[in-house]
């Protein structure tokens, strides 16, 4: 993702969160979206992306912000694998109809009835994916009063800010979604029962923050800090935003009081 809109620039951005997580084209669906925060993760998630695409016969997008794309850091390549068909692929793959009736791959459903049936099948598959493929990592969330939520480069920078805040004695944690769809709402929802406030950090005007609010579902205030148009936040800016959230929640009653 680069700064936009239009030609924009080639600075890192996260401005396409809505575009990639809501659908990858026309139609009523979500792609699976994976967001690396390091070069190593970019490698590992790309491998995973192919496996998930095969497993679910579904679009998978690895969405990296421009910083990941332009960065060098040490990484270990996974062992090379021979390309192979997924075990389930035999029933639908186009390999030549030797010894079987022909396979046809099409998404054309001209009638409304067949179209609706097809869409219901897709929705059933999305429910399975939503259950099985939520992914995130966490730092210091167990006793955190305030939880910073950020993915990709913003999540990585937020982690530095969280460490600074811990050193200053603030009980703050980091929740970094790795899957943007399905959004790790189950775990975030559980944390919302304990934490007193959330801070979404993004390199955009506030997109993932909507998903954070849906997962938190009104149980705690959700603040937002973002930089736009290719600007990357410094840890100090996020640190200040964290202290702002602590001030905001200080006046709120503690859950269970």
């Amino acid at each position: 993702m680069r700064g936009g809109p239009g030609l924009g620039n080639i600075q890192p951005s996260q401005s396409d969160y809505f575009q990639v997580t809501r659908s990858a084209g026309h139609g009523d669906y979500h792609p699976i979206v994976l967001a690396p925060a390091t070069v190593q993760e970019a490698i590992d998630l790309t491998t995973l992306a192919f496996d998930l695409a095969d497993k679910y016969r579904h679009v998978v997008i690895v969405v990296a912000d421009g910083l990941i794309g332009q960065m060098m850091e040490p990484a270990t390549l996974p062992p090379m694998r021979d390309p192979h068909l997924h075990p389930d692929a035999a029933s639908w793959a186009l390999t030549g109809a030797e010894g079987r009736t022909p396979n046809v791959v099409t998404s054309l459903c001209l009638g409304a009835e067949t179209g609706e049936r097809h869409n219901k099948e897709i929705q059933a598959r999305l429910r399975v994916i939503r259950e099985a493929e939520q992914r995130a990592t966490e730092v210091f969330t167990e006793d955190a009063e305030v939880i910073v939520v950020g993915y990709g480069t913003a999540g990585r920078i937020a982690e530095s800010a969280v460490h600074q805040a811990r050193e200053a004695g603030l009980k703050v944690g980091l929740f970094r979604p790795i899957a943007l769809w399905p959004f790790p709402e189950r775990r975030l929802g559980a944390l919302a029962g304990r934490a007193r406030g959330f801070l979404a950090v993004e390199m955009n005007a506030g997109q993932m923050v909507d998903d954070v609010r849906l997962a938190v579902n009104g149980r705690a205030p959700v603040a937002f800090y973002g930089r736009l148009g290719g600007a990357v936040p410094m840890p100090e800016e996020i640190y200040d935003a964290i202290t702002g959230v602590f001030e905001q929640v200080a006046s709120l009653p503690v859950a269970g009081d």
Binding site: P83, L94, T95, G96, A97, E98, G99, P102, N103, V104, V105, T106, S107, L108
Partner: protein, 265 residues
């Protein structure tokens, strides 16, 4: 003149020899094509050629968007439906995963010469070892007869009701001539479906095009001038005459690119 055999002249069934039947490469399904449409002829010939080469179970077809969108119902082999114009990109993926299979696209002129121009040009530039059957009926058939890049100058369509104005919309796109300039193309020819003689020539070209792929020589394409009586507002026989009298002068039949190795096939 048609002759009818009397009952005495008709040989018993078991003494009769089958001289014409549906190719195995086609399914036993009535097509949805209009009477007099060239798509039916082209399907039949592709099916015959695939049978002749004995490659039905090794072949994967790519259907276009256009009237031939349901080609996968009529061909008895593995098939995939591509997005409008993207058949060469889809075929590229399949062929690269299975280089030993035969992969062909079947595309109309709205598909190949309009929205899909980039895909066919780059497939030819890359020298993809695929075969393209290109049906040029000078119009968007499926959507109701709108002007295509291939529409003849002055030709009336639903979106050029006063006739195609070349000042505003340019001259007809000659895709065979264009693709023949690209090094990755091995066999690029134009044939027509307007009479039996031309249909036989077309069949031979389709056979060669598949052989070019088997030999791995590069991209092969047969452009077929074809009729759309429905959207041209003509009877089937007038439409065939119209192809001969109006389309052939704008789209000269012939071989536009035949690399030397093709002559040894």
């Amino acid at each position: 003149m048609a002759t009818t055999l009397t009952e005495e002249q008709t040989p018993p069934i078991d003494a009769m020899e089958v001289v014409y039947q549906r190719p195995e490469a086609l399914t036993d399904v009535p097509t949805h094509y209009c009477p007099g449409c060239g798509h039916g002829i082209a399907h039949r010939m592709v099916g015959e050629v695939i049978d002749e080469l004995g490659i039905r179970t090794q072949t994967i077809g790519v259907a276009p968007v256009g009237c031939a969108v349901f080609a996968y119902n009529y061909f008895n082999m593995d098939f995939i439906e591509a997005a409008h114009g993207r058949a060469p990109a889809t075929a590229t993926g399949i062929k690269r995963v299975f280089p030993d299979r035969i992969v062909f696209t079947y595309q109309g002129d709205g598909d190949l010469a309009a929205i899909g121009t980039a895909e066919i040009v780059h497939a030819a530039m890359r020298g993809e070892k695929i075969t393209v059957v290109f049906i040029n009926n000078a119009i968007y058939g499926m959507t109701g007869g709108q002007m295509a890049p291939t529409t003849l100058p002055g030709m009336k369509t639903t979106s050029s009701p006063s006739g195609r104005d070349v000042e505003a919309t340019g001259q007809p796109a000659r895709m065979s001539e264009l693709l023949a300039t690209l090094p990755g193309a091995a066999y690029i020819v134009r044939r027509s479906l307007h009479n039996v003689r031309e249909i036989r020539k077309a069949r031979k070209a389709i056979l060669t095009a598949f052989k070019v792929q088997q030999a791995g020589l590069g991209l092969s394409m047969v452009e077929l001038l074809s009729s759309c009586p429905t959207n041209w507002g003509m009877t089937p026989s007038d439409a065939m005459k119209w192809v001969e009298e109006n389309m052939v002068p704008v789209y000269p039949l012939g071989d536009y690119k035949v690399v030397d190795a093709v002559r040894d096939l």
